[in-house]
């Protein structure tokens, strides 16, 4: 792995260096903010950006469209199968189980803040998956850890502004922050509940507050703000208990399930035909043996199961029954379900006033790199978006 990383670091692609080496880029990710959510709020930050900056119709997330893989893809410009964070939790045959682990070394491709630091640009994160620890010996200049879901967006705004107020030489030029978005409440109550709309309004007001406070500092001439989300949200009504299906056939296996993609690691390889048959009996499941896995999912050497399952809305894969099942869920194939789409807005330095079609989540990292003059490794899959 280290040899590979060294190789990719040496074969950097040739993005031009930014002309203005004083500019600052702020990237906010609003968790679970579906592409159509900003339409539900008026007179907030989104309206302002749409009027004066750039708005994409939608952002196509990676598959599986979940918080951890999506945030790491936004930071690396590669799909989950390449960066290795397949879901919020997964199993690795060599390293064991991963579950919301803060250790950045699970990530197999350098994130943006690491590339920035390696190239002499100070970076700061106020909660972004993978940014809490050093990555392969490189540390970030400023980072808030451990993650604490009780920290409010106001506190994050206050810290972001403090970072922006730092003197030249100490000031981070790349600032990334995760915001609550509307994820939790939409999981609990469903994406169309009125409380979700209230939460959208609140996030929109907070976004406007940040924009206005940067305005008061007269910093927009050298600041770019990009607002994205990790995924959207769909209503669900049906849980499929994979453990029960396998148990009914007395098949012993380790399950590593996301809501829409599941990995099954069989204890006995000989049980493969029996397991495939049992799972395929459920018509809501698409079931693949390792050599049948479609390219949009791909195969990770040590993290892909012997069997891979997928499902679509209104279903969700589970390993135990839940007395209070979620009403909203994400993770589904974005090419089949547009409700998985997120948002992309840009404002400020280097951004024209225009509306563009959809962009892909993998485009964020190269776009950010172009704005800051950071060279990216050749393996990235996204392309820089023309913001100006």
């Amino acid at each position: 792995m280290r040899l590979f990383l060294l190789f990719t670091a040496l074969s950097l692609s040739s993005f031009g260096w930014s002309e203005d080496n004083e500019n600052t880029l702020i990237i906010l990710s609003l968790d679970g903010f579906r592409y159509d959510y900003p339409n539900q709020s008026v007179d907030g930050g989104f309206s302002k950006i749409a009027k004066e900056g750039l708005r994409a119709d939608y952002l196509t997330p990676v598959y599986q469209s979940s918080t951890y893989p999506a945030h790491v893809s936004m930071a690396t410009g590669v799909s989950p199968i390449k960066h290795g964070i397949l879901h919020n939790g997964f199993f690795d045959r060599k390293k064991g189980s991963f579950s919301y682990d803060p250790d950045a070394n699970w990530i197999e491709v350098a994130p943006l803040w690491i590339l920035a630091e390696q190239q002499g640009i100070k970076a700061a994160t106020y909660f972004w998956v993978g940014s809490e620890t050093d990555w392969n010996g490189t540390s970030i200049s400023y980072s808030k850890a451990p993650f604490n879901g009780r920290v409010t967006e106001k506190e994050k705004i206050s810290q972001i502004l403090s970072w922006m107020d730092m003197p030249e030489g100490q000031r981070p030029r790349l600032i990334m922050s995760w915001w609550h978005g509307a994820d939790s409440i939409a999981h609990e109550l469903g994406p169309n509940h009125k409380s979700v709309k209230n939460q959208i309004n609140k996030q929109d007001k907070l976004l406007l507050s940040l924009i206005n406070q940067i305005e008061e500092r007269k910093l927009w001439s050298k600041t770019t703000l990009i607002v994205v989300s990790d995924h959207g949200m769909s209503e669900i009504t049906n849980l499929i208990n994979i453990k029960e299906i396998l148990k009914s056939e007395s098949i012993n296996a380790r399950l590593s399930l996301g809501p829409a993609i599941g990995h099954i690691f069989l204890e006995e390889e000989e049980e493969m035909p029996q397991a495939l048959m049992a799972l395929r009996a459920n018509k809501e499941l698409q079931v693949y043996s390792r050599d049948e896995i479609p390219p949009e999912i791909g195969v990770h050497e040590s993290r892909t199961g012997d069997i891979v399952l997928t499902t679509s809305v209104p279903n969700m894969l589970v390993s135990r029954n839940n007395k209070t099942p979620p009403k909203g869920m994400h993770g589904y194939n974005p090419s089949l379900n547009k409700e998985m789409n997120g948002i992309f807005y840009a404002y400020g330095f280097g951004v024209a006033n225009k509306s563009i079609d959809g962009i892909h989540q993998l485009d964020l990292a190269p776009t950010a790199a172009k704005l800051l003059g950071i060279k990216m490794p050749d393996i990235i899959e996204g392309r820089a978006i023309q913001l100006d």
């Binding site: 850890a145 206050s158 730092m166 100490q170 409440i185 209230n198």
Partner: protein
Amino acid sequence: MRLRNHLLFYFLLIISKPIVSDELVTEDTFIDYLSNLSSFSASFSQKTYSDQTERVVEGQIRANRKGMFKLTYSEPINEVLLSDGINFHRYDPELEQLEIRPIENLINETPIGLFSAQPDQFFELYNLNSCVSKKDKLLCVLESQSKESYLKTIKLSLLNNTITLLSYKDSFDQEVLLEFSDVSSQEIDSKEFHLNIPEGIDIVKH
């Protein structure tokens, strides 16, 4: 920044002093002060030091030993944090939102227990590590007994038997310094620990 360095130096200087014969007396003075403090109210200036920057927010605090407190933060935070002894409320008038959650381990996560918990209960969680007096000042250091606690150390400065400074490191290892003014220990009626919430506010219960 200069103030922080000065305070840190001052704390280190006095903490590193050899134990003096009157230390027990000063510790007793501090314990007596906290034990007799049934209510506390003050204005405060809260400074958070992180990444070589200082952030300041001002506000007011009221607390009593029944587990009740009310912290009113001014701009830019502009929030009211209130405990009625059972639930913790965070009211954000700008966002028109009220969050309610059980108090749980709040006392372990913030130094508010100094003013709102029963002294016995508080000293079950924190050890009085040292207390040193200098002229009319008393400087004390409390250490958490729990390894799980976000707060490792709370440092306090009393001037003429009144708390004037409190500092601690928060969960992000940031140093937080509270400077109190208009301090009063006058009894506060329980009715004061109430929020007047306008109609139509979004209430989120956890």
